[in-house]
């Protein structure tokens, strides 16, 4: 993993969460644009995973593989599932769900960074 990418992902998660929380305050449900935002975050996590995989192979970076990829898998699953689940609800709870999911992905990404450095 590389630090700039980590920061980008964390900022993207924070932005998505902030956007969703703003909607909570306004008592609004998730809109399509936010799903696109979630897709962007998801894409960033994918990029990050690919970069990590390449670094692992090329630089022989020592890491607890199963643990790391387990977290990657979880991080990748959370947002799409939560986005669909949120979009099906048409109250403000929809936005709460998206915010929680975005914060969770951010947290998982932070854990990935720790696992990457720990080995």
């Amino acid at each position: 993993m590389v630090l700039p990418l980590l920061i980008v992902v964390l900022l993207a998660c924070a932005a998505l969460a902030g956007w969703a929380l703003w909607f909570v305050v306004q008592d609004r449900a998730v809109i399509l644009k936010q799903l696109i935002g979630a897709a962007v975050v998801e894409a960033l996590v994918v990029v990050q995973a690919v970069v990590a995989g390449v670094l692992m192979v090329t630089r022989d970076h020592p890491v607890d593989g199963p643990l790391f990829w387990g977290y990657v898998a979880t991080a990748l699953v959370v947002l799409p599932v939560a986005a669909i689940w949120a979009f099906a609800e048409r109250t403000k709870w929809s936005s709460v769900v998206l915010a929680v999911a975005a914060l969770t992905v951010g947290f998982l990404d932070w854990r990935l960074w720790q696992i990457w450095g720990a080995a």
């Binding site: 008592d27 387990g70 599932v81 689940w85 709870w93 999911a101």
Partner: protein, 168 residues
């Protein structure tokens, strides 16, 4: 925060709508976390602490069941939800207490060790919120099961998750 959206009345008694949306989400995340943890443990080091890792696997299964049950929320699923959520409440208290008394009873930590400390105490809080929510959304009129799901076109209008007024 009353008139949220067009169709709240019908969904008002459903476990997966309104506030329940959030509950199911948090359950789902915990379920994923527990699955990840237990598959990792089973795959890499089961023999080191079979009791702890079996417990992890059990809790993962229970979280998955609870998530599905709360999301579905039909009469049968509601029973499943009561059982699984109740099981978690007991599990986190029992394992938490056991791990407090004797830190290495299970040989290794589990999701429920230290009352769910490793997961921000979410495993401790969640089942009780879940039980409250199941009670809150219980079918009225009939007792416990049945309720025929289609029935609830009750007058009482909106507010699937209004904070305070206890709905009777």
């Amino acid at each position: 925060m009353s008139g949220t959206d067009p169709a709240p009345a019908a969904g008002a008694r459903r476990t997966g709508s309104g506030f329940g949306r959030l509950l199911v989400t948090v359950y789902g995340i915990l379920a994923f976390a527990a699955i990840g943890r237990s598959s990792y443990e089973l795959a890499t080091k089961f023999s080191e602490a079979p009791v702890a890792y079996s417990l992890s696997t059990l809790s993962a299964v229970v979280y998955v069941l609870a998530t599905v049950a709360l999301a579905k929320g039909g009469p049968r699923w509601r029973v499943v939800a009561w059982v699984t959520v109740g099981f978690e409440a007991v599990g986190v208290l029992a394992v938490g207490a056991a791990s407090a008394v004797s830190p290495d009873v299970f040989g290794e930590t589990t999701v429920w060790s230290g009352f769910g400390q490793g997961y921000g105490y979410v495993p401790l809080v969640l089942p009780f919120v879940g039980l409250w929510w199941l009670w809150r959304t219980r079918p009225r009129g009939t007792s416990g099961d049945d309720g025929a799901a289609a029935a609830p076109a009750t007058p009482e209008p909106t507010e699937p998750a209004a904070p305070d007024p206890e709905v009777r």
